[in-house]
């Protein structure tokens, strides 16, 4: 490596953008060349001095005042009034579902619905459509029971201006669905049929948790 070549690589060397071979050549040249060491030190000094350039500049009061005034005017995120429909019992669910669809896209939602129908068909057994209907009834029942605690937690959190941690809403929704499951355990005559139990009762809990997660994504930002 010549001195001239070294000056063309000094910047990359300072940033560590070198292959081990290049690095070794660079190091060898520097070890035997005083002027190139001076050059590299000047390069380092240039980078360091550039870094001091902005630190000494002051922000005009006009700017900081405008920014602070804007910050004060901003609707507070945690206590912002939610849209009226989000306060209805079904609101958080609908909002959560919407944001889920927005985030994951309709194809994933379609796949989920398809999977649900396949499960329903499997659990429904051969040629007994009423079983599928009964199964969907159980699923919706569980989701409906999950809705109440979910809405309550969201409502209280907003009242208290409390920011919910990521796992809270899914856990609450899942717990609600489990509660529904316990009730159904008594009222549903088909809980003894294992496919029915897995496809509708267990799926209900999962779907509830999923909706809780989706609700978490959307609601605190409102």
């Amino acid at each position: 490596m010549t001195c001239q070549e070294l000056t063309e690589r000094a910047s990359d060397a300072l940033d560590g953008h070198q292959t081990p071979t290049e690095q070794e050549k660079f190091r060898l040249h520097l070890a035997g060349c005083g002027p190139c060491r001076v050059y590299l030190r000047q390069m380092e000094a240039t980078v360091r001095l550039s870094g001091q350039l902005a630190a000494q500049e002051v922000v005009p009061d006009r700017v900081s005042n405008a920014v602070l005034a804007h910050l004060r005017k901003l609707p507070a995120t945690d206590s912002a009034p939610a849209p009226a429909w989000a306060e209805l019992p079904a609101g958080p669910m609908a909002a959560g579902l919407l944001s889920f669809l927005k985030r994951w896209g309709w194809h994933v939602a379609g796949a989920a619905i398809f999977a649900a129908f396949v499960l329903a068909a499997v659990a429904g057994g051969s040629g007994v459509p009423s079983r599928t209907v009964a199964g969907l009834h159980c699923l919706l029942d569980e989701l409906a029971v999950a809705l109440a605690p979910l809405a309550a937690v969201v409502w209280v959190a907003r009242r208290q201006r409390h920011r919910l941690a990521g796992g809270v809403l899914p856990a609450v929704a899942a717990a609600g669905a489990l509660l529904g499951q316990i009730i159904l355990q008594v009222t549903c005559p088909m809980t003894v049929v294992r496919p029915h139990l897995i496809a509708f009762h267990a799926t209900g809990v999962l779907v509830a948790a999923l909706l809780g997660a989706a609700a978490t994504r959307l609601l605190p930002a409102r």
Partner: protein
């Protein structure tokens, strides 16, 4: 006939550094700062403004025709940042996000003022890529120094940025082409990483390295007489 084939080959030959940089996601510190600002912590917001405003104005200047407009763009950016802060998800660092908003706005404003700077449309071998780091006449035929740089009275590591040296650096920075100024401002003045600079400007790592090398070399050349002369 041959063109798709050629394209395919070029893609295969693309080295790691030609690929778009991976986003650097936000640190816990960033997320905490965002939380604090959202809960109306004015000192947190002021600290953020103090840290970045001067650099933001410099960056905006590369896109718009006057310093006054650059100030305006930077100030508007802060308001836009406040509006959008509750939607900040930490997919990039806060600084990257901030400067992406700034660059978008400055670019829009610049093209409205008839001075656009299409960063991505430039190859690495534009006018800035051809000048040597040090004037060729300072080297002998074999590439060894003929007129080598000289160590000044002060150790360059302890030289402080003030007075004449500062003025010289400022004017050398101003004299850089907008693209060189942009890269060296983000990387060295603001202290961003290579990845962050690439993400903000939408350029490849290789292009960033070339531009940064040119910019630093020019700045060093401008400071050389001062680094050599000064002595305590």
């Amino acid at each position: 006939m041959g063109s798709p084939d050629k394209r395919h080959r070029t893609q295969q030959a693309t080295p790691e550094s030609e690929k778009p940089a991976k986003p650097v996601s936000a640190s816990a510190e960033d997320m905490l700062l965002v939380q604090n600002i959202l809960s109306r912590d004015e000192s947190a917001m002021l600290a953020l403004v103090r840290r970045h405003h001067a650099v933001m104005v410099r960056v905006a200047q590369a896109f718009v025709p006057s310093p006054a407009i650059a100030e305006e763009v930077a100030q508007e950016t802060w308001l836009a940042v406040l509006e959008g802060l509750s939607r900040f998800e930490g997919r990039s660092s806060l600084r990257t996000w901030l400067f992406q908003i700034l660059v978008n706005r400055a670019r829009t404003r610049g093209s409205r003022e008839m001075r656009s700077l299409p960063m991505s449309s430039l190859g690495a071998a534009d006018d800035e890529g051809t000048a040597p780091a040090v004037d060729a006449d300072r080297f002998a035929a074999g590439g060894a120094w003929a007129r080598p740089p000289v160590e000044g009275g002060d150790d360059p590591e302890s030289v402080a940025l003030r007075g004449e040296l500062r003025a010289r650096l400022v004017s050398a920075m101003e004299a850089l082409s907008p693209r060189l100024k942009l890269v060296v401002t983000l990387r060295d003045v603001s202290g961003m990483s290579t990845e962050e600079v690439c993400n903000v400007l939408g350029i490849t790592e290789t292009h960033q390295r070339v531009l940064l090398h040119r910019a630093r070399s020019k700045l060093r050349a401008a400071l050389e007489p001062y680094l050599e002369r000064r002595s305590s």
